[in-house]
Symmetry: C2
Subunit: 224 residues, 2 copies
DNA sequence: CGTTATATTGATAGATATCAATACGGGTGG
DNA sequence: CCACCCGTATTGATATCTATCAATATAACG
């Protein structure tokens, strides 16, 4: 029963994917249910009753919030290993909508799971820190730095999961990226154009290839 | 023992201050220790070992993070009833610094307190939602909207705690407000000047008086 | 009362948003 | 298989906003 928690609590950084990987085949693992979510379908909707949190096993999701006028804003981009739904616990109602960007699969983690419980506060704390880092990233930095960081973040996450760190297929439109980064879609497009002219990357529509990782890293630091 | 959790879990919104208020004088309350923090002193520092979270009982705090170069950025402003230190659980090391803006007093909440534990995930979830709301506020909105929202937020919090909703003493400099809102100090100053000329409020240095709450609310909505 | 930090105010430059037109691309139906 | 269409992306011209640089004024403090 402690497999999940212990595996994940060890070390400085906690790693739920690792913990979850160990669950495969164990009695505890069998207890957890999976759920398939077809591309374009919501895993949950803002305002709906909170029931569980989810761990992405395959595919990717975007999180969005809708303000009073119904305007959609992208607040998150999630892949394999990420946890979704933590924001629903406060009011026992989901505070955002999660939509699959491609056919996806998630592990359903009931909120009072004995194996997950001791881990939960730390997981949430990490999310809190990440959220703040994202805020700091977006605030003082230029459009170029934001886009560069976004691209780098994706390549790193892809790499960590065994995919090519040089090439990937974006599943978000320019408008969605802009919404996520606090920029207008035209600005996102222009930045991609600039980075391409500087031979940092090649962006053919949504297919992105990183040509110069060092230059990309450098572009992440430009302040305003 | 369940006083704290139950009082706070009832209703749609959870309220730790209410729960804590009930603890005064009870056996559980006596168990919790208090701590005084003189003005300008840190409650904890970024990077120091995580030991507990804290509930503000009197006074106010600012949270800051220091980037690699040591540059300070204000990430939070906390008053009576707010919880501090949640970001330290992820790595068991505080991810930010909390400094008292005036002589303050906090309740020390050991992380594995039996009364607090069931409440913790919801508390953290709420913080997660707030953090995101803050991000959305800062991203697409004009300097005027940011400052107006900041002022309104303070008056509302003050009001909820029994102080005058019209007048308060800012304990942050223009530079600190700017850091918190993602603006330069000159811009903050100019916005205060503009709001003053429009008779929305009167700002004499750090003493602020709201003259026209409706106009202030209207100013919160200006996008970019 | 002087000294230093903080705040206000002005002039200018730089960045992104906005408005507008054109190009591309994927899918559908002919 | 090609032509057409609609959503998406690119590119350009201009407006708006905030940052920056700089000077002065005010407030806090010893």
């Amino acid at each position: 029963m402690h497999d999940l928690a212990c595996a994940s609590l060890q070390g400085d950084d906690l790693c739920l994917p690792c913990g979850l990987a160990r669950l495969a085949g164990t009695p505890e693992g069998a207890r957890l249910s999976q759920r398939r979510v077809p591309r374009g379908e919501p895993l949950y909707r803002q305002g709906s009753a909170y029931g569980a949190i989810y761990a992405v096993r395959a595919g990717s999701f975007k999180s969005t919030v809708h303000d009073e006028d119904g305007l959609e804003q992208v607040t998150g981009f999630h892949v394999d290993g990420d946890i979704l739904g933590l924001d629903g616990m406060a009011r026992l109602r989901h505070a955002s909508t999660a939509v699959a960007l491609e056919d996806a699969e998630v592990l359903v983690l009931p909120s009072c799971d004995a194996g997950l419980d001791p881990l939960l506060p730390r997981l949430m704390s990490r999310e809190l820190v990440r959220q703040r880092e994202r805020l700091q990233l977006l605030m003082g930095r230029s459009a170029e730095a934001r886009v560069a960081t976004f691209v780098q973040d994706i390549t790193q996450r892809m790499h960590a999961r065994g995919y090519s760190p040089r090439e990937f297929h974006l599943r978000l439109s320019r408008g969605e990226i802009g919404s996520y980064l606090g920029l207008k879609l035209e600005t996102v497009s222009r930045v991609f154009g600039r980075l391409q002219r500087q031979r940092v990357l090649r962006a053919e529509g949504r297919h992105v290839r990183v040509l110069d990782p060092a230059a990309l890293a450098a572009a992440c630091g430009a302040s305003a």
